[in-house]
């Protein structure tokens, strides 16, 4: 083709590189500049805009309704997926059954925990807070979590194809976004209701099924309302990170609230029995909030919908593939400030090892969510030991293991990001094992701080702080090693035989990968568990803890991607092959 030249004035012109002449139809006029940034006359409405200059087809027909577009897309997808109605119903049945089994297991565990905990009547509590108070604090944590995660995921979004192909259509977006706007409130309600029902029915188990159902229903409605509220804020242009930060603050405030309650001697004798009429009012209020959000769906900006949809897609993919690291990245990045950071001059860097350490520290300090997670996790053992009805060996062991694991996850952010993008590590003149060792420093220091808070509280509860502090310091490397092992775990292997779990059948390879990190944490904490059960720090156990920590560090910094069993098996096979060759 012989290409034509553009037909405008000065199309091939030169020498007009500086300000174009005033008559240039492409240049802004001085009148335009004069009014820039100043409020002008009332803006013209888009309804009165001239018709499109370029038309396609033989004319125009009325634009279809948004629901018909949504239904068309869904119908084609259903047809192509080849799934018959029976298969869909089977999947639904399986999902409901799985959730019911998981709920039953959780209820059973909570009941077992209750029977194993010290029985102290509320009126006989010498100090501290009551078990219902702790459950109330957990309810606050659940509310904060729902708000935080709801905001990080949108809560309303349109990801991938929906953003590209739906949002450009001149249809009322409400019809397109309605299902997406309801999805998260429903999930949040189910999760919040289930958690409170399990705690009330399993751990407290004082007031019968009606109480449990009403409390669970209330929690479900409150959680759904919080997500709907986050949707409102989104429709008003409030940045997601602001709403997420509010949720994080609520989470951070929960353990402080518990400590305050302990100091003030304020305790709940029982969780309130929510009257049915109040539940009905709440339900109507939530329905009203949902309707109100529905009216505002069309006001959510396209860029917000795209960002939220992208995060939700990433998070859903991570959940389906059981990749908690990817899920963490999705939730962290979704609330990150887009603003450029102040450039640190990295004056502390003296060489490759310190470069890794400083980089990890910078990543951790720039992630408020992980700092909050670390602080809250350190306060969990403190809350447990000031709750007489929880302060038994079992309660303390569970508190140490759970809060240690949660805290450890917060410290491994640098390692997780390095695992995702190892190119920077490869630029350093360090072996892979040396990089791993350097990556141990930040989690190690952070978990030492966690141990000081957690084990000081346990020591105070046991009546002898110093030995417990020493035990905590000795066990801190275990957590750091577990953080590193979890961060550098390989992608799940979906091959291999299936193992039956409460969540359904899973390939053994997946289970093996998912247990990398928690395995070191649990096995490395056996000496701590023994001491808690004995109620004292035995010097011999302290020595064992030091040895176990050294082994944990060796395992955590190992760069091998195969398990010990795999290596043994390979060695055996190689030896047999060698034997056969010689024969």
């Amino acid at each position: 083709m012989s290409r034509q030249r553009g037909g405008g004035p000065d199309a091939g012109g030169r020498g007009d590189a500086v300000d174009a002449p005033a008559q240039d139809e492409f240049a802004v006029t001085s009148a335009d500049r004069a009014t820039a940034g100043t409020p002008g006359p009332a803006p013209a409405a888009w309804d009165d805009a001239p018709a499109p200059a370029v038309r396609t087809g033989s004319g125009s027909t009325p634009v279809p309704g948004a629901p018909s577009i949504r239904r068309y897309t869904a119908a084609v997808a259903r047809r192509r997926s080849g799934a018959a109605l029976g298969e869909v119903l089977g999947d639904v049945y399986y999902a409901v059954l799985m959730l019911a089994v998981a709920f039953g297991v959780a209820l059973g565990v909570a009941g077992q925990l209750r029977s194993a905990l010290p029985h102290v009547p509320d009126h006989a509590l010498p100090t501290g807070i009551s078990l219902p108070t702790v459950v109330a604090v957990v309810a606050v944590v659940v509310a904060g979590t729902v708000l935080s995660i709801g905001a990080r995921l949108g809560p309303v979004g349109a990801g991938g194809a929906e953003a590209t192909w739906w949002l450009a259509l001149p249809v009322d977006r409400r019809g397109l976004l309605r299902p997406a706007s309801l999805r998260l409130p429903v999930v949040a309600g189910l999760v919040g209701g289930a958690v409170l029902a399990v705690l009330d029915g399993g751990l407290l188990a004082d007031h019968g099924l009606g109480h449990v159902l009403r409390l669970g229903g209330t929690a479900a409605l409150v959680c759904a309302a919080l997500v709907l509220l986050a949707g409102h804020l989104q429709s008003r242009g409030v940045p997601r990170r602001t709403t997420a930060a509010a949720g994080d603050l609520v989470i951070a405030a929960a353990p402080l609230l518990a400590l305050l309650a302990a100091l003030a001697g304020w305790r709940l004798a029982a969780l309130p029995d929510v009257p049915v009429w109040l539940l009905a009012v709440l339900a109507v209020a939530v329905a009203g909030l949902g309707w109100w959000l529905d009216t505002r769906l069309g006001r959510i900006r396209g860029r917000d919908l795209r960002e939220s949809g992208s995060v939700a897609t990433q998070a859903a993919g991570a959940v389906v593939s059981l990749d908690s690291r990817e899920l963490g990245r999705a939730l962290t990045d979704s609330a990150a400030r887009p603003r450029r950071r102040r450039v640190r001059r990295m004056r502390l860097v003296r060489g490759p090892v310190s470069a890794v350490v400083v980089a990890d520290l910078t990543v951790l300090l720039r992630s408020p969510r992980h700092l909050v997670q670390l602080v809250v996790s350190a306060l969990v053992p403190v809350v447990v030991v000031i709750t007489p009805q929880l302060a038994g060996p079992l309660g303390v062991v569970v508190a140490v293991l759970v809060s240690g694991y949660v805290g450890m996850l917060a410290t491994g952010e640098g390692a997780r990001r390095a695992e995702m993008a190892p190119v920077v590590d490869r630029l350093l003149p360090l072996s892979a094992r040396s990089v791993r060792r350097a990556r141990l420093v930040v989690p190690g220091v952070a978990m030492v701080l966690w141990s000081v808070a957690a084990f000081a509280a346990i020591g105070r509860w046991e009546g002898d702080v110093l030995p417990w502090l020493l035990l905590g310091l000795a066990s801190a490397p275990v957590w750091a090693a577990a953080a590193l092992r979890a961060a550098y775990r390989p992608a799940p292997n979906w091959e291999g035989p299936l193992i039956a779990t409460p969540a359904g059948a899973l390939p053994a390879g997946v289970m093996g990968v998912l247990s990398r990190g928690p395995d070191v944490a649990v096995l490395g904490s056996v000496p701590v568990i023994i001491c808690v059960v004995l109620g004292t720090v035995v010097p011999a156990v302290l020595v064992v803890q030091v040895a176990v920590s050294a082994i944990a560090v060796a395992v955590g910094t190992s760069t091998s991607t195969t398990t010990m069993m795999d290596r043994l098996s390979e060695a055996t096979e190689a030896a047999e092959a060698d034997k056969r060759r010689r024969a």
Binding site: G37, P52, G57, V63, P170, V171, G302, R339
Partner: protein
């Protein structure tokens, strides 16, 4: 629309992320039936300017109008008149090539959508792939699908972000012809490009987007600016 009413007017438009500008302010107007190209080095902010014009990004400063109205992609009137092809690469996995185009055409109320879609499938060399799912397409074919989707619907303004990407030479030539025809039909084209041939064939003027100062250039100067080592 009066003849003098520009389709796009950007006055000291400053774009960026999180309040931080990525380039110097740009000022230009795009009259009806004309094409304006944005040129500049990689990362200079061309796509960011386009996103601000499309309402996908809040300007850091200055202002931008389309058809004399504030840019607001939430308005159906805006979406009716502004068509864009950005660097999106997302498709409904269960919809075929043709179904993506039908969805767009019928969603915009195009009468005789069948004929329009058939014509565009032929034009962009996608007839043999009309029944294919996007996963079976090459990246170039997916790009052609996006371009066809941008053209299957009514519009006053066509915004293209490096439309030449992943297209072979013949298809680039065809695209240039198509965009010239777009102008002749009264449509306006705002595009970011690195292709001197496309620039020369389609654009009437160009804006050099840069860190220090963004300038309005003639096409010849813009083509010179695209030469290696200049930007």
């Amino acid at each position: 629309m009066s003849k003098q009413q520009p389709v796009v007017r950007a006055v000291d438009l400053l774009v960026g992320y999180g309040g931080e500008p990525v380039c110097a302010p740009v000022s230009f107007t795009l009259p009806p039936g004309r094409a304006l190209a944005l040129v500049g080095a990689n990362g200079s902010g061309k796509s960011t300017v386009l996103r601000a014009v499309l309402g996908l990004l809040e300007p850091v400063g200055g202002r931008v109008e389309v058809l004399g109205r504030a840019v607001d992609e939430r308005e159906t009137g805006f979406r009716t008149r502004v068509s864009s092809v950005l660097d999106d690469d997302a498709y409904f996995p269960a919809l075929t090539v043709a179904e993506h185009l039908y969805l767009t055409a019928r969603g915009h109320g195009v009468q005789g959508a069948d004929a329009v879609v058939e014509e565009l499938l032929t034009e962009f060399g996608l007839t043999d792939h009309a029944a294919a799912l996007p996963v079976a397409l090459s990246s170039g074919q997916r790009r052609r699908l996006l371009l066809a989707a941008g053209l299957v619907r009514p519009r006053s303004l066509l915004v293209l972000d490096e439309p030449e990407q992943r297209l072979d030479v013949a298809m680039r030539d065809h695209l240039a012809e198509r965009l010239v025809a777009e102008k002749q039909a009264g449509g306006s084209v705002l595009l970011a490009t690195h292709d001197p041939e496309l620039l020369r064939a389609v654009a009437d003027r160009a804006v050099l987007v840069a860190d220090d100062a963004s300038r309005l250039l003639g096409v010849g100067d813009a083509v010179d600016a695209l030469r290696p080592g200049v930007l």
